[in-house]
């Protein structure tokens, strides 16, 4: 057992994790910051984000308007104090990133360019061609290399948080290269591990998005908030699930059913116009657009393909020049993965799981309920995004809350009293090492294949807990997940070696995903209303009397998670009707 100690430990090397590390390193270079990531930082899923990051830029725009768009976009489940803080901070963060070298796209006069985006009343989305996440991540990673106080533990897979006396004191991780189990201690831990899209079968998410940090926090006793709010992005490619950015619609793309009809007008999203209108039709919020597409599937007005139904995203009328200059990656992806040129043919798309609005519950300062534990980014739920996230708000969130969590953690450790009891910590770490060996490494005779359990899990999530849910389907999914939890104990391992054992990490990721899936299903079961991305056929209306509150899923000793409710913070925007296209 190898041990090391740092002041602050960050799990996850994506946008939020890197931003937190840089913030701490800049404000106090004497603090030792550790960044533990199961992949090299430039592989983090932030890299796949395409569209942009919203931040009020123009004179005709205002922070309040960005707040309102975000609040109404969240179907009033977002905490308004946090949203106000976020909208105020984000332009400063985006500018800071520009000073660090991020190649934002520009207007002819050299100023930052902005583009329209779904659900936003004004143009305020900053973008770096259509690879915004890639450029942001590489800028953050390369900037982070300046600071000697940041120690990276690359390709170290966190398996458990170390908790002593109710406070989080570090974690246990497998060093993939050697198989060594490491106990890394710290006075504060920040979870920046991203989302859990791989719980679903069709997803834009990378292989690594398995909800590790959410499960780690959950198992340590921190509640997960609003887990039932799972966002489907309307335009994903049918087989691979690869994302076709919302920017394609912002630049003027149309959604057509099999009759070539712009069907969104039938779903209270406005009237079709030749060029995009803010908050209308194709620039509506993601949850409503995805639901409209499912509506077309159910009405039989969609195309049928080998991987299910799909509709068309038509970019042909934009012309080759516009597509090449504003949406080059969209063209590249379609040519490579669908053998289709969007300049000449409409793109086949269907809604795919994209983002988790829910995550580890934090307050406005990124603190969880456990002392010493913080969370930021998609892994956290503050909540900025409520029941539905607007496109281009998440890249902003990782910056604002990455920085904020760093500052909050720094304040905490200033006041922290003494170190943890070494014996207690090391005993926990030794316990974890034993568990990994007994349950996986030395295990023989298991009968369940990891991929089979994973497929059954994702299948039940899609059928029982997809875009439209109802009591029966959710109960069935809940039962199925219980069964899978049981069968997981009997998982079969082919790889019993220590060195770079990715079957072991797959097995551990499956365990994390089963926990996360359970919180999603039970939160969905208990929320008996429809709001944003959570749509119940048996409770089709929004119910502000009972459910203007966040679901909090906490681990219970046996069986399913306990679901409590935490009221939403309302400041200046009382709940209203969510109106688009009118």
């Amino acid at each position: 057992m190898e041990t090391s100690a740092h002041d602050i430990l960050i799990i996850g090397g994506g946008g939020a994790g890197l931003r937190a590390a840089i913030e701490i390193a800049e404000l106090n270079p004497t603090l030792s910051v550790a960044m533990v990531s199961k992949v090299y930082p430039m592989r983090s899923h932030t890299v796949s984000a395409e569209g942009g990051a919203a931040g009020v830029a123009g004179k005709d725009d205002s922070i309040d308007e960005h707040c309102y768009d975000t609040i109404s976009g969240s179907d009033w489940l977002g905490d308004q104090d946090a949203i106000e803080f976020f909208c105020n901070e984000i332009p400063k963060e985006l500018l800071r990133l520009e000073h660090w070298g991020c190649p934002w796209s520009r207007e002819p006069d050299g100023r930052i360019a902005v583009r329209p985006f779904g659900g936003m009343k004004k143009m305020r989305t900053w973008f770096a061609s259509d690879k915004t996440g890639f450029h942001m991540l590489h800028t953050l990673f390369q900037t982070s290399l300046k600071y000697g106080s940041i120690t990276r533990y690359d390709e170290c897979f966190a398996t458990r948080l170390l908790v002593e006396d109710g406070a989080v004191r570090g974690l246990v991780a497998i060093e993939l290269r050697t198989g060594k189990i490491r106990a890394i201690q710290a006075k504060a831990v920040i979870i920046c591990t991203g989302g859990a899209g791989r719980v679903f079968p069709f997803t834009t998410n990378a292989n690594i998005c398995t909800g590790d940090g959410m499960a780690l926090a959950y198992r340590a006793g921190a509640p997960l908030k609003d887990m039932e709010m799972t966002q489907y992005h309307p335009t994903g490619l049918p087989f691979t699930g690869i994302l076709i950015t919302e920017a394609a619609r912002a630049e003027g793309g149309w959604l057509l059913n099999k009759d070539g009809y712009r069907f969104l007008q039938d779903y209270d999203l406005g009237k079709p116009t030749p060029t995009p209108v803010f908050r209308s039709m194709e620039l509506g919020p993601r949850d409503r657009v995805s639901q409209a597409i499912i509506g077309e599937f159910e009405k039989g007005r969609a195309f049928h393909g080998p991987y299910g139904d799909y509709v068309h995203l038509d970019l042909r009328h934009l012309g080759e020049h516009k597509i090449e200059s504003r949406l080059p990656m969209v063209r590249e992806l379609c040519l490579k993965y669908e053998n289709l040129d969007p300049v000449r043919e409409p793109i086949r798309i269907r809604p795919v799981l994209h983002y988790m609005m829910g995550g580890v519950h934090t307050d406005i300062n990124a603190a969880t309920t456990l002392p010493g534990l913080y969370a930021a980014g998609e892994a956290a739920c503050v909540s900025i995004n409520g029941a539905n996230r607007l496109g281009s708000n998440s890249l902003g969130e990782i910056l604002v809350y990455g920085a904020r969590s760093g500052r909050t953690a720094m304040q905490y450790i200033e006041g922290a009293n003494g170190g943890a009891k070494q014996s207690a910590i090391l005993a926990q770490a030794a316990d974890e090492e034993r568990r990994l060996e007994q349950q996986f490494l030395r295990k023989t005779g298991g009968t369940e294949r990891i991929s089979k359990l994973r497929d059954e899990m994702s299948h039940t999530m899609e059928t029982g807990c997809g875009i439209y849910r109802e009591r029966n389907s959710l109960v069935e999914s809940a039962n199925k997940l219980s069964e899978l939890h049981e069968r997981y104990r009997n998982v079969a391992m082919d790889d019993h070696t220590r060195t770079f054992n990715t079957q072991l990490t797959s097995a551990l990721e499956l365990g994390f995903m089963l926990d996360v899936a359970e919180t999603i299903v039970h939160s969905a079961l208990n929320r008996e209303e429809s709001r944003g991305a959570h749509q119940r056929r048996d409770f089709p209306k929004r119910d502000d009397n009972k459910f203007l509150a966040h679901s909090m899923a906490s681990r219970s000793a046996e069986g399913p998670p306990r679901i409590d409710y935490l009221p939403v913070v309302i400041t200046r925007w009382p709940p209203g009707e969510r109106v688009y296209g009118r």
Binding site: P103, D109, R111, S451, T499, F500, T502, S506
Partner: protein
């Protein structure tokens, strides 16, 4: 078209082997499968110990670089059917130490990236009121070189990297060049001493394979040759028009 295709995958288990060997797997031959899909099929259904890196499966994270029939490629963007009837040889990227199966050691590469100071360097105290003004033309000057996803296919393609592991390499030099050309950066001199040493740009003999295999069109070979011109110019300036170091 046949239903299946054979993949000959290079295996190396350091706890058991002293050197790699090939193992054959028969996988379904589906029209829209990439080579990566074949590898995940093997891991899921045939042999769970097969070890390889992958993540985004859309050619942007840079994890899945491997040798496919002797050519470095991203397996997530390489159509399996292009190799029908097969067999297809899949191996770890060459010119790197092999950790296990298709996983290579990246430490050296990460150190080289850090060495070239890939961040905005400012020599003055100027802080713009908002953003640095940067016209689309100024952005275009370096944009191509900023597209590198760190997949290291270029290191596998470069014979100099294979013969001399100290060579800083195409991606690192292209990254340094990206910052040099960025109108907001003032770090050209800082990077010169690192990049213009023997294991820097001058080790490059313009084979050009790095640019051929680059999946993102970065054209690192162009960056290196441009850097040679820049370095030479700076060298002349340093003794024709010397400036005191501050």
């Amino acid at each position: 078209m046949a239903d299946t295709i054979i993949l000959e995958v290079e295996r190396f288990e350091p706890e058991r082997d002293t050197e790699p060997s090939y193992q054959s797997f028969e996988v379904p031959l589906r029209a829209d499968w990439m080579v990566l899909d074949a590898l995940t099929h093997i891991k899921d259904h045939l042999d769970g110990s097969l070890t390889f890196r992958w993540s985004c499966r859309m050619g942007i994270c840079g994890s899945c670089g491997m040798m496919i029939n002797g050519v470095p490629k991203l397996t997530c963007e390489t159509l399996l059917m292009n190799f029908a009837p097969g067999p297809v040889r899949v191996g770890p990227l060459v010119h790197f130490p092999v950790v296990k199966d298709l996983v290579i050691e990246m430490d050296d590469f990460m150190a080289k990236v850090q060495k070239v100071r890939p961040w905005i360097v400012r020599k003055d105290d100027f802080k713009p009121a908002r953003e640095f003004i940067q016209t689309p033309a100024q952005l275009e000057a370096f944009h191509q070189f900023s597209l590198c996803i760190n997949c290291t296919l270029c290191y596998a393609a470069c014979p100099v990297s294979g013969l001399d592991s100290n060579f800083i390499g195409p991606a690192a030099i292209a990254l340094a060049h990206r910052y040099n050309l960025d109108s907001r950066d003032q770090g050209l001199e800082d990077r010169l001493d690192i990049v213009s040493q023997h294991e820097g740009i001058w080790d490059c003999t313009v084979v050009g394979e790095c640019s051929v295999v680059c999946p993102k069109g970065v054209d690192p070979s162009l960056a290196i040759q441009q850097y040679k011109l820049t370095a030479t110019k700076e060298w002349f300036k340093s003794f024709l028009l010397p400036r005191g170091k501050n």
